[in-house]
Structures are given as C-alpha cells and as structure tokens.
C-alpha cells in the first residue's frame, strides 16, 4: 500500500460515437501506449469488460483512476473576441460570453485559453483581444462525473475532448511543418463545430446547425425510404454505398463551410489545405472524403505515430495502424504533455 508503485496510467475518451480506453506504461512521458480498447457508448457491460482487461489488478479504491475526456452537446469551445480595455471591468467577461456564445456563464464551468498556446489566458496582462473559451454546464459536468464513477472510473482529470483534439492538431501541424491551415470538423448529430487550425493555434471557430441528422431526410428522399428511421438505420449501418450521393447529403453543410472558409481566406490570405473530421463514426468515414472533395481540399493523413514519438509517446505493437487516425486525436491529446506550460497567478474573484 505504501510502497507499491502504481506505474500505469489510464486515459478514457468518451466520444459521441466511440468510447476509447487506453493504458500507458507510465504516468508521464516517455511512456508506451500499451493497449487501446474501443467500446460502443452506452454499453456498460463492454465498458466493465474493457476496464477489467485494462486493469489487471484493481486499485485499492476499486476505481479505474483515469484522465477522462468528455463531450457534451452543450459544450462550448469557441474563439471569443473582447475589448481588452474593458476586461478589468467587473462582469464584462460574463457579458461578452453571454452575448457571443448565447449561454448563461453562471451555469457553466468555463476556461479561457490563449488560442495560440493553449495556456490559460492571462487576464491581468490581457494583451490579446481574442481568446479561446471552452467549458460545459456545471450540471453536465456533475452528470458526467457521476456516470464515470458509476461506471467504475475515477476521473483524475476531466477535460473536453474537443480541446484535447484541437491542442493535438495544433501540435501535430507544428511537428509535421504543415503551413497551410486545416479545417477541423466535429460533425455531431444536430450540429457541426468547425475550426480552422494552424500550427500557430486555433484561427477561427464556428458552430453550424447542420449535423448528421440533417442528412437523414435527404437519404430518405434520395432512396425513397418509407420513413426517417429506416433511413437512419441504413445511413449508420454502412451497408449501402452513399458516396455517390455524398455531395447531396452534405450540400448544406458544405455551403456553410465554404462561407466560413471564404471569409477566412479573404481575411488572412491563406487557403485551407486539408480537412480532418475528428468525430465521425467509423462507418461514416466516407463523409470526410466527400466533404474534402466538395471543398476542393484533401483529407489530412496524419502520421500520428511519428507525432507521438516526437512527444516521447510510443505506440505499442498491439496497436494497429488503423487505430492511428485523427479520430483518436482526442484520446492522444489527453496523453500529450506540451512543454509550454507556465505558472498562472491566482485569478481574482
């Protein structure tokens, strides 16, 4: 109890379409990712089995102590603009947040980051007018936390998978020396979060009210199905080749994206080079190619293993190449420790 060295560390990424659990050889880099297990979300039995397989002997507390990445439909992960001079005004930040994000800040747990470095935004110095704000409702945090505990997972940290993914993408682009911006898309059921990311940080963010569900009526119409449920089952089953009608399905989404991309390109003079969809279920991975084709860009093929190696993280032999794609950036992003962290002075109330 006192002298046993619990060297292993665990990471759990609760994605919308997949639950990823990983075991590493040590808590801090350099370490080896020994095993990654994927479960369907909501499958308690599979999760329990995965925990049992990952953790050969139970910890004294009975929990799997893990760094957790979660997602919430009501999460926020966006760039926010404010007047630097007014930052010192009491209540200004809440007001700006409320106006731009249309949320009640008092009901949220939020973090303000520097969009370039990912570090805490220093309100005292306040040199930049843009910040990256992320967070989720307190009730969602509590619910997620309770669900984690009920599942046998004790959260050592609870982070947003989105933030972990974006941080990983920024770092990857710097590692791969990719100078062109990448469009990162989190396509969910009801909405899509789009980010333009470069090696310098998160350039833009925009939520789009087009998601996978918006494609279902198109599928039903195109295939002449009797109802949306049938269309939904077919759409998510991957038994039908939808690539032919891909453009039709994503038309509205692409239109919105083109608008954002065009605005960015005009402002910065930089063109988007690649697209990466970090949240697509594996059965809908073809959507990434369709979106890239319609936008006239390529799909980002990330050398995840090489990037992790540069961060002193080695993938074990049991981890297949197929497991090393951008959909796992959230999980790997939880593991990577970026060296540019600093001590932040205590925030004033």
């Amino acid at each position: 109890m006192f002298f046993s060295a619990n060297l292993k560390n665990f990471f759990v990424d609760f994605g919308e379409h997949a639950l990823l659990l990983a075991r590493t050889s040590k808590p801090n880099p350099p370490f080896v990712v020994e095993e990654i297990i994927e479960c369907a979300p909501g499958d308690e039995a599979a999760l329990a089995e995965a925990i049992k397989r990952l953790q050969s002997s139970k910890s004294p507390s009975g929990y799997l102590h893990a760094v957790c990445g979660i997602n919430s439909a009501r999460r926020v992960a966006r760039k926010i603009v404010f007047e630097v001079k007014r930052l010192k005004e009491s209540g200004y930040l809440n007001e700006a947040t409320s106006q731009q994000l249309r949320i009640e800040p008092d009901q949220y747990t939020l973090a303000l980051l520097n969009p370039g470095t990912g570090l805490d935004y220093d309100l005292a110095k306040a040199t930049q007018k843009e910040a990256f704000i992320c967070g989720l409702p307190i009730s969602d945090i509590n619910l997620s936390q309770d669900n984690l505990l009920a599942s046998g997972v004790y959260p050592e940290r609870i982070e947003l998978s989105t933030v972990a993914s974006l941080g990983a993408m920024v770092d990857y682009l710097a590692y791969a020396k990719i100078k062109t911006p990448v469009l990162v898309l989190e396509i969910e059921a009801e909405s899509t979060n789009s980010y333009i990311v470069t090696a310098s940080g998160v350039e833009t963010s925009r939520p789009i009210q087009q998601g996978l569900e918006s494609m279902i009526p198109v599928v039903q119409k195109e295939l002449g199905l009797k109802d949306e449920d049938s269309a939904r089952k077919l759409f998510f089953s991957n038994t039908f080749d939808f690539t032919g009608m891909g453009s039709t399905l994503i038309k509205k989404l692409v239109k919105e994206l083109q608008s954002s991309i065009g605005f960015y390109e005009v402002q910065t003079g930089q063109s988007i080079g690649q697209v990466a969809c970090t949240m697509l279920p594996s059965k809908l991975s073809w959507l990434e190619g369709s979106i890239a084709a319609d936008l006239g860009v390529s799909v980002l093929k990330a050398d995840v293993a090489g990037w992790l190696q540069s961060r002193q993280i080695t993938l074990g032999d049991s981890i297949t190449a197929s497991a090393q794609d951008v959909r796992r950036l959230g999980l790997f992003g939880l593991m990577v420790q970026y060296n540019n962290h600093a001590v932040v002075p205590e925030k004033k109330q």
Binding site: G118, I141, Q145, Y154, V163, G167, G333, V343, Q349
Partner: protein, 214 residues
C-alpha cells in the same frame, strides 16, 4: 464569474498545462484514500495512550503491592518489637561480657611464655659465677644481660657454654627459635665480663611446656 468558476472546482491547479483545462468537480468526488493519514496518526496516538495507561496501571499495582507489603512488615515489626528489644539488650550484655572474655583470652594467648616458669627455668639453668642483671622481654623475644665472674678467657668460655646450655635446654628450645650471644665486653671497673644473650621467640606460637600455664 467566468475565470474563477473552473478554478474553484479544482483548487489543485495553479500550474495549468497547455490545452488541458481541468473541469473536474472535486467536491463531488468520493474519498478514495483507502487508509487515511489521520488513521495512522490516530492509531499511533491511541497506541501511545494505551501504552502509557497500561504502564501507569502496572506501576500503580506495583505500588499497591509495596504498600501492602510495607504495612504487613510494619505489623510484624510492631509484634516483634518487644522481643527484639529484649534480644538487643541481651546482645549488648553478651558483647560486653564477650569483650571481657576476649581481653582475657588475648592476655592469655598473647604472651608466648609463662614468666614464672621462665624465671624458674632461667634460674635453674644459670651456671655458677654467672649473674643476670637484666631481663628485657619484647614481643620478639627476651634479651638477657648480666655479668660473668672470672678471667677474660674463662668468662668468655663460660658465656659460650651458657648459651649452648640454653640452646640444649628443652624448656627454652621449645619456645625460642634462636639463642645467641650478641654482646660480650669486659667492664673495666668491676673487671667482670658483661654479656648479652638474645633469645628470639619462634614465629608460630608453640604450645606452652607442660606445667607452665597452670
């Protein structure tokens, strides 16, 4: 408040890693520490307290036992005191009488010779024309001093013969280990020969000759 909301929920993070804001609500987490530090502190404290208590009880019991034994001893003393006083008085008397006896015994045993007998034997052994003028008794022996009447040659011969006769005398040889003529000189006034004979007592006391200690 925006920026403090996250910090309040997890007060552990002052050093915030990049791209890793922590939204954990520590207050709602269960206590997973299997054995709390306070358990050990309390355990050690209780152990010390119990040990001290046991030690105190042990010492108290030992003290009670001592007190009981002391009381019993006092009762025994009180009961035996008259007899003890008597015994002490008798012992004092005994020691007083013993002193007398010891003094007597010392007197009787300290002297290695019986003077009366010694004088009689000395007188009997005295040859003619030999006079004893001084008998000096010491712890180590006797020194006889006297005169011998006669010419120088006769007197010196007589002195030697006298010494030989003393050596051969059983009464003296039993008591004295060494008998020697230590000085011989002529007195010019009287013309007599002065002599001095040393009789050294034997080192271990010899039982007195028969009839000497009566």
């Amino acid at each position: 408040m925006l920026s403090s909301l996250k910090k309040n929920s997890d007060k552990s993070a002052v050093v915030v890693p990049a791209w890793h804001p922590n939204f954990r609500n520590v207050e709602r987490l269960p206590d997973t520490k299997v054995v709390r530090t306070s358990f050990f502190i309390n355990g050690v404290a209780i152990f010390l307290a119990v040990s001290l208590a046991i030690y105190t009880v042990y010492r108290e019991m030992a003290l009670q036992t001592l007190k009981t034994e002391t009381a019993e001893a006092k009762v025994a003393i009180a009961e035996n005191k008259p007899k003890s006083d008597q015994a002490v008085a008798l012992f004092k008397k005994f020691t007083d009488e013993e002193k007398k006896v010891q003094a007597l015994q010392q007197f009787l045993t300290s002297s290695k010779i019986v003077f009366s007998e010694f004088l009689l034997q000395l007188g009997a052994s005295l040859p003619p024309a030999t006079v004893i003028t001084n008998i000096d008794y010491k712890d180590t022996g006797v020194i006889l001093s006297g005169n011998i009447i006669g010419s120088a040659e006769e007197a010196s011969g007589k002195s030697i013969i006298y010494v030989e006769s003393l050596k051969k005398n059983p009464a003296f040889s039993a008591v004295f280990g060494d008998i020697a003529l230590t000085n011989i000189a002529r007195d010019p006034i009287s013309g007599q020969l002065r002599y001095q004979i040393d009789l050294k007592l034997k080192t271990s006391p010899q039982p007195p000759a028969k009839g000497e200690n009566k």
